[in-house]
């Protein structure tokens, strides 16, 4: 498995996109954190960028990469290798390179300017976003043979999780505003990895007071050790489940 991860990472380094991604993240992070004397505000802006930009890059780049390495996959499937090893190596290679890029590009500036629990939470959630959306990308690309269709599905999934999901939840909130929705809101938040990361971080920023009663309920749940562990477990589940489905699909795919 190590051999193949090595070759995937070498290949990724050679095409320089990951390097460009790291540099862009570095520029954005330093820029945003330097803009205001109050770095907490900077971290808040950085969070918003991270939660939109990181999933998008991870999902699109990984989808295209898997399609472009169809020759590589075809070649290696005929070799004495387990399909499982091959697929997990592709995932590890991609996830490792992208999260390394993130941890360098955002991690270094955050560690320099905001070495706090909030900063750590930002890095942790960015790291999870990378893993989760790489997994979803693998699932999208193994399900469809057509490259354009696969990339389209990947973009739609990203769109659904960043915008459409929130819009639907908002709509439900307004429709049922007569009922107590605080508890269901926790569940809705759990179901979307981006929202979950956002809430976890907002609570670390102590501005949950601005969110009224819901914020208090959130604070009570996500602030507790139990809530944090459940959230991390859900994020982990979001990483493992798409990857597992993609693996099942890859094991019976004809190449």
């Amino acid at each position: 498995m190590k051999t193949i991860i090595k070759y995937v990472m070498l290949d990724l380094l050679r095409n320089r996109i990951v390097l460009a991604y790291t540099i862009i993240l570095l520029i954005i992070s330093f820029g945003v954190l330097n803009m205001d004397a109050n770095t907490t505000k900077g971290v808040l802006s950085l969070m918003n960028i991270t939660l939109i930009f990181i999933p998008l890059v991870s999902i699109i780049f990984s989808t295209i990469y898997v399609y472009n390495s169809s020759e590589f996959l075809e070649l290696l499937v005929a070799q004495p290798l387990k399909r499982k090893t091959l697929w997990l190596s592709i995932f590890c290679g991609l996830a490792l390179s992208l999260s390394l890029a993130f941890l360098t590009g955002v991690g270094i500036p955050v560690m320099l300017y905001e070495f706090t629990a909030t900063g750590w939470m930002l890095l942790l959630s960015g790291f999870f976003q990378t893993l989760i959306f790489t997994g979803i990308a693998l699932l999208a690309s193994v399900k469809t043979r057509d490259k354009a269709k696969g990339i389209g599905i990947a973009v739609l999934l990203w769109f659904a999780l960043t915008l459409i999901y929130d819009a639907v939840v908002m709509l439900l909130l307004f429709q049922f505003s007569d009922y107590p929705l605080e508890k269901p809101m926790i569940v809705f938040t759990m179901l979307n990895p981006i929202d979950l990361s956002r809430v976890l971080m907002l609570l670390k920023l102590d501005i949950s007071a601005l969110m009224g009663y819901t914020g208090a309920v959130f604070h009570e749940f996500f602030g507790s050790g139990m809530g944090i562990s459940v959230s991390l477990a859900v994020l982990l589940l979001w990483t493992v489940v798409p990857l597992w489905f993609s693996l099942k699909q890859f094991q019976k795919k004809d190449l």
Binding site: I4, S69, S70, E71, A78, R83, K252, D254
Partner: protein, 234 residues
Amino acid sequence: MIIASNVTKTFGKLKALNNVSVTCNRAQTIALIGPNGSGKTTLIKTILGMVVSDSGFITFDKHNILHDWKYRERIGYMPQIGRYPDNMSIAQLMRMMKDIRKSSFVLDEELIEAFGISKMANKKMRTLSGGTTQKVSACLAFLFNPDVLILDEPTAGLDPLSSELLKQKIIAEKEKGKLILITSHILSELDDLVSEVIYMQDGSIQFHKSLEQLREDTGQVKLAGAIAQVMKER
């Protein structure tokens, strides 16, 4: 050595393999012949585990290949159209394959020398011509000195000289008692290579005979004539 039992594979509505059963033994050289789209490549890919059959099973040395991936260590495969990572050079590709196999087998670099591959080791795979890619595929198939060689149209796209070199190499391997499976549309070059003939049509095997038997049945000396006769009769 390789036994396929009632293997069926459908792609959508198309039945690519229809209840195929075949037995291949050590020291046989088998020609897999049939019109375009008769399922030859699909059969080969199923044996290699690249295509997963809908029903039926294949065993390699009595092990079902579905649960066992190690058997591929003993197969050298030369695809019809070799597709390789674009931005790798020949040398990098060879190194990667050696890295993956980590084999204790003695490497067989005879073809690499014969084709003069080392002279262009630094060329990227995407810049290679079709024929050169074919040569690289051939080198990789023979490199690990495998017990079984599966060659899908090995000489298609090769110049006459290289084609002859490859043929000599196949004969040399045959003499070592290896199982060799060849598909080709150039029947004349199979004459002095093969010992058995499998004829496929529309995804099923029409017959599996030894070359002498086929010659006897059709009264033709050349394989091309014999096959032409068979096709006419059907």
